[in-house]
Symmetry: C2
Subunit: 407 residues, 2 copies
């Protein structure tokens, strides 16, 4: 079994946190000065672990295990959300580094290579999972030309400023790897609230987003009698209530749905709203459940439109498909967890998106979660107990060894 | 009977429109350069009608009928909404001017005085009905010190710029008048949609405003299971739906209610809303109805708070009391309308606020509506048929004569 060095692991996680530290978290947007510095630091750490470091044309940092006979690609992303947490992404990258060191130190694991990677821009500062999409051939040059940050900075300019422009982009060679493994904090409280310490990820949910628009007639709130009104705000709250009721009836065991954004126009106390819109989102591991949600939403909106007095339309904004993890990888993670912490693990979907869902199109993929204290995520106060961080790394290393040995 | 000169009336309305004309409407905010110029023009027109013109310290323009033995104060406001209509306010002021001229021209009406007024800032560019409140002693110097425009200009600076600072503010002498009359466009479509030409205003509705705040817990829309959510957006749409249902059950014949403003925080598609608020408004001529609305709102909010998972609070933002018009004035207007256009009139409340509601605290008050085409108001396209404008002036003059003769 590979032997994790918990102190070394925690020291490297804390060193990485210093690149853009904010309170107890980190502010390290992709391609910012601190992000570029952290990627060079990671390349140096990969080199120290006897890997060949490569930073490619989109900013992905690889530690290539060129001399291994069998390889797993292991990693996550290294940039953070604005004023984000210190573990989100970084944890999976430093786990990969620690696994590489542990494997290299164990003669019994000779020839079994951990190839490390820190993906670029999973957090979407410039685009949608740019690093893993570049690696899997799902990001073309035209999209890179078009990407901009929320502040309007062109991705091309950011890559040039970072010193990454003109470098080749590393593309996946599927025969090079047995598969891809990613560890991450849960970002929810399923583990923390139940005292479990390892989550075996069954898949990453599909996320379907719709925009619902209600069109009525803007009017004076004093002189327009109720019978004559076409109040888009009334139509929206009635439809939203129906959506919540019906969605609850057709949910799968872990389906989540959200109306997170609602707009009323002109949104003034003394004006009957002429227009309203809401964004409706559903997430599930099962495409059939998502399709059922879509059908019910379309049915409710059509009924609202027919009933009047407002018009109602539904527009599909985006659909990501659920991505199942590799069953053999799941079993390996579960067996490793059972060995180190019997009954302290659970199979679960990931409600958030991860690079593993992109990689899973080209490689067998597996994911493992460790607890998030209080389920807090995308906030600098995000945290995990150090004992859970170390335990997670050992379980992850055991699972990787089992997979590599099995071939 | 006084004899209205329709051509003269329409010509003066069209001349007044030129101060700040915008498309077929007017952009004439209170104390703007065009508003000040229009007030001087009105003072000159009042003087031509043998009235003594006075512009006071808040910008009210009076045409004083000092030699009359009995007087009615007649008028409305002369500034407009931003890019507003050409008749809103201006109609009532030019009606007053035309009545003064018609009365002066008729020896049979000798001694019966129409005293004209153009109130300042009924539209609220700097404050709340500043002119009529100043006249009735409901605006103190401290409030004038504090008032600012939406652009942050101090009322004191605007008055100085306009040349009105330092002038005395004219205060009502209740014994000077039999009462106050105001004509206005309806701003709704009750008259226009039923083919009636005169509205006899029974009173001006009270407007009660509340803020309802829902407090839940902001969370990740992917990793937070439904059972653990405290979604303030869900709580808001469910409560709003209940409010609309219950309010419909307890409405009086002309009650109107509106949820015109809704805010969700942080209002992002992938974030469970942690806070939501809405502004709820009810308008009715009957305080008992408004009190019923308040009680039901408080009851529904308390039930929402008890049921959880979100907290719910109701805050009273403002309450204006309904103001009934003088029954004898109503009868005089109704009789004049019946004489000129049999069965072409209707008694109705005003759903919008007017200076007459302020004046009614100190003088007997009456109001008359003429149709608004399509019910359009507070927009430059607002309009009324010329024949209705002229007919309205004649009915209004007849009613004023009857009131003055009756003493």
């Amino acid at each position: 079994m590979p032997q994790i060095d918990g102190d070394r692991l925690l020291a490297d996680l804390k060193r990485l946190r210093e690149f853009g530290r904010y309170e107890t978290g980190v502010h390290r947007p992709t391609y910012s000065e601190v992000d570029v510095a952290s990627r060079h630091w990671l390349a140096d750490k990969f080199a120290e672990a006897a890997l060949d470091p490569v930073i490619d044309g989109i900013g992905n940092v690889f530690g290539r295990a060129n001399n291994a006979s069998r390889r797993l690609l292991v990693g996550s992303h290294s940039e953070t959300q604005p004023k984000g947490g210190w573990l989100d992404g970084a944890l999976g990258v430093v786990y990969a580094l620690e696994l590489a060191r542990a494997f290299a130190a164990d003669p019994a694991l000779s020839g079994l290579g951990i190839e490390t990677v820190a993906w670029a821009d999973e957090e979407g500062h410039y685009g949608n999972m740019l690093g893993s999409r570049s690696f899997t051939g799902r990001l073309d040059e035209a999209e890179i030309d078009a990407c901009r940050s929320r502040d309007g900075v062109a991705l091309r300019d950011a890559l040039a400023q970072a010193g990454f422009a003109g470098r080749p982009r590393v593309a996946v060679e599927p025969e090079r790897y047995l598969g891809y493994l990613e560890a991450h904090i849960e970002q929810g409280d399923t583990l923390d609230s139940t005292g479990r310490r390892i989550g075996v990820v069954e898949g990453i949910v599909g996320i379907w987003n719709w925009r619902v628009v209600l069109t009525g007639q803007q009017n004076h709130a004093g002189t327009t009698q109720m019978a004559r009104r076409k109040d888009a705000g009334v139509a929206m709250v009635r439809l939203a209530t129906q959506i919540h009721d019906r969605f609850a009836q057709i949910a799968g065991p872990r389906t989540v749905w959200t109306i997170g954004r609602m707009l009323v126009d002109p949104n003034a106390p003394s004006v009957v709203p002429g227009r309203a819109e809401m964004q409706v989102q559903a997430r599930d591991i099962d495409t059939a459940v998502l399709a059922r949600y879509r059908d019910v939403l379309v049915e409710l909106a059509a009924a609202c439109d027919r009933a009047g007095p407002c018009r109602c339309t539904v527009e599909e904004l985006s659909q990501t498909e659920p991505r199942l993890m590799d069953p053999a990888f799941e079993s390996a993670i579960e067996a490793a967890a059972e060995h180190r912490v019997p009954a302290g693990h659970i199979r679960m979907p990931s409600g958030a998106g991860h690079d593993a869902q992109v990689i899973s199109h080209r490689l067998r993929a597996g994911m493992m979660f460790i607890p998030s204290l209080g389920g807090i995520s995308h906030h600098w106060s995000e945290d995990t107990k150090e004992a859970d961080i170390v335990l997670g790394a050992q379980v992850f290393a055991d699972a990787a060894a089992a997979i590599l040995k099995a071939g």
